[in-house]
């Protein structure tokens, strides 16, 4: 029995199953506690403590919330499309978690010396990033279906807004991914991480791409300042107006699961995956030559490259830590920025982000043609492009936000 288990664990399948169990459990638990974290971050930015009554420093708040949500009356309003109404929040959660499947948490490892090298990842698939794009785009279904099935005009408006917004932001998202693919020449996430370990993190080489991608990720997750689908002032609750109890909570879980998976993808694309610091191989090599810090250099190298299970575990920790930092950024942005107006949202996507993303993709393609896709030229190109964007914007003479100049004149006002 135990031998059989060991055998299975020693195979890639077994490890994948293990990672999957950890990932699913982790994401589900994380979603619950991220809601607490969100409330804490909100409180902190507003000079409050946040929930602090249940358990030490309010740590058991999610359990209380969960209990409450389970015990609440689960209302299905009359004249809704029952099947879709129940199905929509389920999609939200499932789609949110699917993205985690290809995240390379810990590089490669082997259980014992001489054993096969295994990837610490649920699935390493050839189309990697395309899978991310495909699965991420499905997320809009939950919102649109939920809004539509509610048989409520506000909910429908919320769903329609979400659809329009996600379609728009998918374009710059794709362009950003194109830059990453061109730069690394890889589609597999673990391959991209390895390329970054060899040269440099893409977040450093292509900061503009990173910022664009982060922005589109906010929009794709329907997070502030892009949460127009649940804009209270205009749409009551938006797409989840008619939802209550656990179904409503599933939408929430879905949103946070989505945050986790997009953050994980972002870490792989831009922040060097499991690498603890940028250039850790070079820095580690250099440190090894400095006698008092040699152990530090060795440790950096060990964490980054060693195939032992312990190193893989540390790598996983580094990865999760980076994801956590990005999620904090999501929340930080949410409690800093007010919501966009819908026309501003569209203008930002189509007039600012799409052209910039195109220019970046062209520059990345040029670098590939030149044979230096991951060089400092990329960074220089980003800087020049940013300057260019600003100049064009100033030269165009139009404010990027605000008044609609093309409206007809009001009758009677001369």
């Amino acid at each position: 029995m135990i031998d059989w288990l060991k055998e299975i664990l020693a195979s890639q399948f077994g490890l994948s199953m293990l990672v999957m169990l950890l990932a699913v459990g982790g994401v589900m638990g994380a979603a619950a506690w991220l809601i607490l974290f969100e409330r804490k971050v909100a409180a902190w930015t507003q000079d409050r403590y946040g929930p602090n009554r249940v358990g030490p420093r309010g740590l058991f708040q999610p359990i209380a919330d969960g209990l409450k949500l389970f015990l609440k009356e689960d209302i299905i309003p009359g004249k809704v499309d029952r099947a879709l109404f129940i199905f929509a929040p389920c999609i939200a959660l499932i789609i949110g978690m699917l993205g985690v499947a290809i995240v390379p948490f810990g590089g490669v490892m082997r259980w014992s010396d001489g054993g096969p090298l295994l990837k610490v990842q649920v699935a390493s698939i050839d189309i990697g990033l395309l899978y991310v794009v495909a699965v991420g785009s499905l997320g809009v279904y939950s919102v649109v279906l939920g809004g539509w099935a509610s048989n409520n005009k506000y909910a429908t408006y919320g769903g329609m807004r979400a659809a329009a917004q996600m379609l728009s932001y998918e374009v710059p998202l794709g362009l950003c991914l194109l830059v990453c693919i061109l730069s690394t020449g890889q589609l597999r996430l673990e391959g991209m991480v390895e390329r970054q370990i060899q040269s440099c993190w893409l977040g450093i080489l292509q900061p503009l791409v990173f910022v664009l991608f982060f922005t589109t990720a906010l929009a794709e997750a329907n997070r502030a300042p892009f949460d127009l689908a649940e804009c209270e002032q205009e749409l009551v609750g938006g797409f989840h107006t008619e939802y209550s109890a656990m179904k409503w909570a599933l939408f929430f879980f879905g949103e946070y699961a989505h945050m986790v998976s997009t953050s994980a993808v972002m870490v792989a694309l831009f922040l060097g995956g499991w690498e603890p610091i940028p250039f850790s191989l070079k820095i580690g090599g250099w440190l090894e030559s400095v006698s008092p810090l040699a152990w530090l250099g060795a440790m950096l190298k060990w964490i980054t490259l060693d195939p032992s299970p312990w190193a893989a575990l540390v790598r996983g920790g580094v990865y999760v830590g980076k994801v956590g930092c990005l999620i904090f950024c999501y929340m930080w942005v949410r409690w800093t920025l007010p919501r966009f107006r819908f026309d501003q949202l569209m203008r930002l996507a189509w007039k600012a982000m799409v052209p910039t993303g195109m220019a970046l993709a062209v520059w990345a393609g040029f670098l590939v043609y030149w044979g230096r896709p991951m060089s400092a030229w990329a960074l220089a190109g980003n800087g020049i492009l940013l300057l260019l964007c600003g100049m064009i914007s100033v030269a165009s003479g139009r404010p990027t936000t605000g008044r609609q100049d093309s409206l007809p004149k009001v009758e009677g006002v001369s």
């Binding site: 971050v41 409180a43 902190w44 930015t45 507003q46 000079d47 409050r48 403590y49 930080w332 942005v333 409690w335 800093t336 920025l337 940013l386 964007c389 600003g390 100049m391 914007s393 100033v394 404010p399 990027t400 936000t401 605000g402 008044r403 009677g412 006002v413 001369s414």
Partner: protein, 180 residues
């Protein structure tokens, strides 16, 4: 409607011209810096937050506008004369009075019924301002609870009881006024 607008009636305010940094959304970083400053300074929230109910703020009894009370005159009778001034002044329409002839020889009119819907009330204190005999006053009491809406409609007895409970904390301003 029907007004003829002149050109001078319209004030055209142009949006301020944005500079390059603003057009590139860079001031967002400013905002992020500000919020981060608050996130990483626990001293601030320690100073700001009152941990109710363990901690409670010391209220200024004279000015705080909490639950209403109906004052008693020196003989312990309700001081209100039922003039409907508070009901008239109330912007939330939360006061309901039914007046009648007073059973006392020295008084003309008194409230048979006096009800305040404490849920509807906005605690503006206009009733207190309007009262010609200083019979209705707002007290520093603010922690009241009820299990139903009807329980939060305070009747005359309850409002008089609030007076009995708070008269030591906040004595009547003009105890001599008894009404008409």
């Amino acid at each position: 409607m029907g007004r003829n607008w002149k050109e001078t009636d319209v004030l055209v305010v142009d949006q301020p011209e944005l500079n390059m940094a603003e057009r590139l959304y860079l001031p967002i970083l400013d905002g992020l810096r500000v919020t981060l400053k608050h996130v990483v300074s626990p001293g601030r929230r320690k100073r700001m937050v009152v941990q109710y109910p363990e901690q409670q703020r010391v209220l200024r009894t004279e000015t705080y506008r909490g639950v209403h009370r109906l004052n008693r005159d020196e003989q312990g009778r309700v001081a209100c004369t039922g003039c409907f001034m508070c009901e008239t002044a109330c912007p939330a329409h939360c006061i309901h009075i039914e007046a009648g002839e007073a059973p006392w020889p020295d008084r003309e009119k008194y409230p048979i019924k006096f009800e305040i819907d404490e849920l509807r009330c906005i605690y503006c204190g206009m009733c207190e301002e309007a009262c010609p005999v200083d019979a209705i006053e707002l007290t520093p009491e603010y922690d009241m609870v009820g299990r139903s809406r009807s329980e939060m409609v305070f009747d005359k007895e309850k409002l008089l009881a609030v007076f009995d409970a708070t008269k030591n904390v906040k004595p009547r301003k003009n105890p001599a006024i008894t009404g008409y």
